[in-house]
Symmetry: C2
Subunit: 202 residues, 2 copies
């Protein structure tokens, strides 16, 4: 049985990575979407084990101490992180896993699992489209929009550290999900995963 | 415009690489199949520019001397090689090119063009299937079959030097061609070719 691989999908706010990743797992339900853990309280409509695993601060810190968090960060006084156990078990069962994660976390994971983690960055087509998307939300102040544009630039500058990148044009998230799926399939053909075939000729 | 990439497809006799490559370019005519040059005489039904470029020994040696052969080898007293010019021109025009070539030649090309050549090895599923295919041809002596099996093993041992490998099961050359096509598409998403997107955010 082929081993599962871990695909890290990052991209700035406004890259549409949430929609792309959800389309991918809807169209290809054999692929598993990793659920993060957090210490923040669930919002109305959010479900434990679907949107996040909602755990206590003590439990989260215990997991950090025991090396059970693949990566983690803090934001607005709460922890957010990726529990290692679920991912390891899925990969052992041959399941591919998607981890939708910030650039910093993505780089942490790639360092810990260089041989089975593949990194993909989704980007908007350009700064103008990104700005239009951020303004289109109509929920953020001018200051927040400026900050997000600056942050997006910083993240996209790290693109050469990623393995792959895919441009998400307006209204093309289906195409983008398929591009991601092709990357997943192609990665399984890399000789670092297929070299056991040699044994069948000796 | 995106630059074309060079895909080197190798595989032992009996891997079915000819059928797979021909299926690929039939289904995806935007991909260009490189035509080799040779000093051997055309066989009945073979066409100049389709099966080979049939050139004289003097012309071939002139091209070697001027660095116009990407790789070459000799077999039964004749030269066989890949003219560089056609490949360079196609890549500049943004065309992807397939080069169906022996393992030794494949490695020569990878060394010369490490940044734009991608190597894929096609293999039979195992030694038994390979032997059945070689015997099924009904045209070769026992000695030749033994020699081809030995040679296949040597070639497949070099699989870790290739970027990708694909197993060609009996009757599955269409699937194999599609696996190759996905590798081509995924390779174009590698950040080493896509990093110009960064300029659109600065």
């Amino acid at each position: 049985m082929r081993k599962g691989l871990l695909f890290i999908v990052s991209g700035p706010a406004g890259s549409g990575k949430g929609t792309v990743v959800n389309t991918l797992v809807k169209n290809h339900p054999e692929i598993f979407l990793s659920v993060s853990a957090t210490t923040r309280k669930p919002r109305p409509g959010e479900e434990h084990g679907v949107h996040y695993y909602y755990i206590s601060k003590e439990e989260f810190e215990e997991k950090i101490k025991n090396g059970q968090m693949l990566e983690y960060t803090t934001y607005s006084g709460n922890y957010y992180g990726t529990p290692l156990k679920e991912i390891e078990e899925a990969m052992e069962r041959g399941k591919d896993i998607i981890l939708e994660i910030e650039v910093d976390g993505g780089m942490q994971v790639k360092k810990k699992l260089p041989d089975s983690a593949v990194t993909v960055m989704l980007t908007p087509p350009d700064r103008e489209v990104l700005e239009a998307r951020l303004r289109g939300r109509g929920t953020e102040t001018e200051d927040v929009i400026r900050w997000r544009l600056e942050r997006a630039k910083e993240e996209i500058l790290l693109l050469p550290d990623y393995d792959y990148s895919v441009v998400n044009e307006d209204g093309k998230s289906d195409l983008c999900a398929e591009a991601l799926y092709k990357i997943i399939q192609a990665e399984h053909q890399r000789t670092k995963y297929t070299k056991t075939i040699i044994e069948k000729f000796i």
